[in-house]
């Protein structure tokens, strides 16, 4: 029986080293401290708006992980949500997904990446790749097949994608799924990295015969 929590820990450490990422989790000390301090300020009657802002941020940070560029430096910071950290399979998928974003930031560390993300069409392409990387990692350790619609469902809210852009994401992901179904690693660098790490450290965690 493979310890998937150990697999997730290895994947976080190895991908972090390859793509120069730092991690923030809900229990990171300065984040907890800041949240407590802001929560105290928000108790002042005149600060209702801050309480509302904190409520929105709390809900987002509980459910959604994000990858942000490091300020003035090479690499990225991944903020893991409580939901991602609660389950090893979710964590493996999220870690792989966010490192696809980190790869983009490492390869092209300037404002151009941010400008590209303002285009719905390019945002769709970027998110499709990240979803495909996450889905591939999950597939490797579970063998459970997901449809393109299931994989892109989380993009329905919060990404400001039009129906046409969401359809674009689904088609891009469908191509990666067809590649996986053919027993081939998706043509994404981070998918290769994930497989390489699992083969090197946890070969028993790979449950899909074609990728062992």
């Amino acid at each position: 029986m493979t310890d998937l929590a150990a697999v997730a820990t290895t994947l976080r450490a190895e991908l972090s080293a390859r793509y120069n990422t730092d991690e923030i989790t809900p229990d990171t000390w300065w984040l907890s401290l800041s949240r407590t301090a802001l929560g105290a300020v928000a108790m002042i009657p005149a600060m209702t708006w801050l309480r509302q802002v904190l409520d929105v941020l709390d809900a987002e940070m509980a459910a959604r992980s994000v990858c942000l560029p490091k300020v003035g430096g090479d690499g990225a910071v991944i903020v893991y949500s409580a939901a991602a950290l609660a389950d090893p399979i979710e964590l493996i998928e999220t870690c792989a997904h966010e490192h696809e974003h980190a790869r983009v930031l490492k390869a092209d560390p300037d404002i151009q990446v941010a400008m590209d993300y303002t285009s719905g069409e390019l945002r769709a392409t970027v998110e499709a790749r990240a979803c495909a990387v996450g889905a591939f990692a999950r597939y490797l350790v579970t063998g459970a097949w997901q449809t393109a619609d299931e994989i892109v469902a989380p993009l329905a809210h919060g990404y400001l994608l039009s129906p046409a852009d969401r359809e674009h994401v689904a088609t891009l992901v469908a191509s990666h799924l067809a590649t996986m179904r053919a027993g081939v690693v998706p043509s994404l660098e981070v998918c290769h990295a994930v497989l390489e790490i699992l083969r090197a450290h946890h070969p028993g965690a790979i449950v899909v015969e074609a990728f062992r």
Partner: protein, 97 residues
Amino acid sequence: MHRDSLTRAALRLCLVVLIALGAGAVASGCPAPRLPAVEGCTVGATRCRADRPQVCSSTGRWHDVGDLACAASGAVCVEGDAGVAHCALATDGGAHD
């Protein structure tokens, strides 16, 4: 009432900051998003180019599916009779480019 004023003031401040950031970005020659050229392809169509599967967007642009060629996975890009272009082992079907 007082709280509403504060909320409005905070929102106005955010708006001013956003406008200032936008103006600064434009003034500093901020680049435009790197969209591929419009080629008038059929929305949702797929094809292989340079050993990479591509998908046509709603604005008629071809987008690479991945960041690597299929060869990096020991495969070739194939355009199936049914379904989307993807990477497959050379023996699974004909290569198209």
